[in-house]
Amino acid sequence: MSEKVLMKGNEAIAEAAVMAGCRHYFGYPITPQTEIAAYMSKRMPQVDGVFLQAESEIAAINMVIGVSAAGKRAMTSSSSPGISLKSEGFSYLAGCDLPAFIVNVQRGGPGLGGIQPSQSDYWQATRASGHGDFRKIVLAPASVQEMVSLTFKGFDLADKYRMTVLLLSDGTIGQMMEPVSLEMGDVTKYDKPWAVTGTKGARKPNIVNSLFLLPEVLEQTNIERYERYKSIEKTEVMYEEYMMDDAELCVVAFGIAARVSKNAIKAAREKGIKAGMIRPITLWPFPKDALADAAHRVKAFVSAELSMGQMIDDVELAIRCKRPVILCSRAGGMIPTPENVLAALDEAGKIGG
């Protein structure tokens, strides 16, 4: 095993991106993710890469579109209000079938909101990132180590499926330090015959474009894209099961909420409550089958989130409302305590009897 180092979550994302072969970073500072840009500003020149502080978040995402169209790995990062600004770019990336790696280290909203951690961009990340029919792969790290592994994997998935991968983190995981191993293995290289790299007079020009004025053609691009999404839903779902073997109550939580929930589950077990957790690592594709399967075994679910209740929709959809789902929520930059989750488990135990 390689030697572990202490790193902040945000820095870990940046180093993992470099290891994944990303040599183009475009960003604009915003708390609580500015360490990503700060790290890149030092690191990119060391690897002959490009660090560019753009004039705005919108400029940064459009620079990502340009580099990606040229066949290179590119990324941008921001926090909630800055991600909203990028939404046009997300839609164009999808319409052009371009790979991209985007990071959202969420803070409380709406509006400028606050700067403390939040998960209230769940709907934005998994549903309405921009106009039109499209999906993004959404990854939710719950540790600094996963900031590394999911960033590395995220770049791979983006190239593999020619689409945007969003790393959806929060201020806590972004700011905290934990020991990490940076041992990641080899980077898989993908052929990009579609990339705009100059024809040298030897082939027909490639065009990267999202405008299709003939509805029949546009419909076809959508259908083909959704075929790809279907295969992703079959093969790329990731989740962690924690103490689920004999669980009668199931917490569903991701990111920092999952970390807090682990404490609550341990405390519940000490009280004789058989609680467990399913932690989605991919928020899209959501681990629907794992939850539907758990619905046969558990009495009730608890959805623990740093929002007014967003992921709970996906939990209820996944289990087809077969069991009650209790919401355990804090918003606006507040984090549920283990006691909050434990209280929700108590309530779930009563209702789900």
């Binding site: 180092v5 609580p32 403390q116 905290m176 330090m177 934990e178 970390r259 807090v260």
Partner: protein, 179 residues
């Protein structure tokens, strides 16, 4: 040791985050599970700043310390805020040159060290944080004396020899305080 939850609290600018980082590195070097979580944003620029550090032999769940086993208080608002959250049987370390009152709890061990005054007396301006940390390391048993220098070498880069020596002097001063 199974799990120790430590909360460092004081004003922004007192080096609260660095103090926590030193402890976190020690945990890393001894192969433990470690988490370090700072307060961030405007708080660290003049308001109250705090830092949660957890050292454990098993994987760490929540990195947020709301009930510390050990509290380091470097100003009165921090002692007021966190004294009652400290676990029964825990330890509270107080910078007695900045906090005039005593710890009210009787079910915790209390330690007093005039860290800020010692720092200025010994020409270690700005290193009160390391002095109180030294005191804490001794009385908590979290670090042996001979572990301090190698940890410092990991935290402060060798290029900044002067900083290394001053920090080491401060932490050793606190470690040996009252002996």
């Amino acid at each position: 040791m199974n799990t120790k939850q430590v909360l460092f609290a004081g004003f922004g600018g007192q080096g609260i985050l660095f103090t926590g980082k030193f402890l976190a590195y020690q945990g890393l070097m001894s192969g433990r599970e470690v988490s370090w979580l700072p307060s961030y944003g405007p708080e660290m620029r003049g308001g109250t700043a705090n830092c949660s550090v957890i050292l454990s032999d098993s994987p760490i769940g929540s990195p947020i310390v709301s009930n510390p086993d050990i509290l380091l208080a470097m100003n009165l608002p921090s002692l007021d805020k966190y004294e009652n959250c400290t676990v029964s049987g825990g330890q509270i370390f107080v910078d007695s040159s900045l906090i005039e009152r005593k710890v009210k709890r009787t079910d915790v061990e209390s330690f007093y060290i005039p860290a800020t005054r010692l720092a200025s007396d010994e020409n270690l301006g700005g290193l009160a944080n390391m002095i109180i940390l030294g005191k804490m390391l001794r009385h908590s048993g979290l670090m042996r004396f001979e572990e301090i220098a190698p940890t410092m070498a990991k935290v402060v880069s060798a290029k900044r020899k002067n900083l290394y020596e001053l920090n080491l002097k401060a932490i050793e001063l606190g470690y040996n305080h009252g002996e």
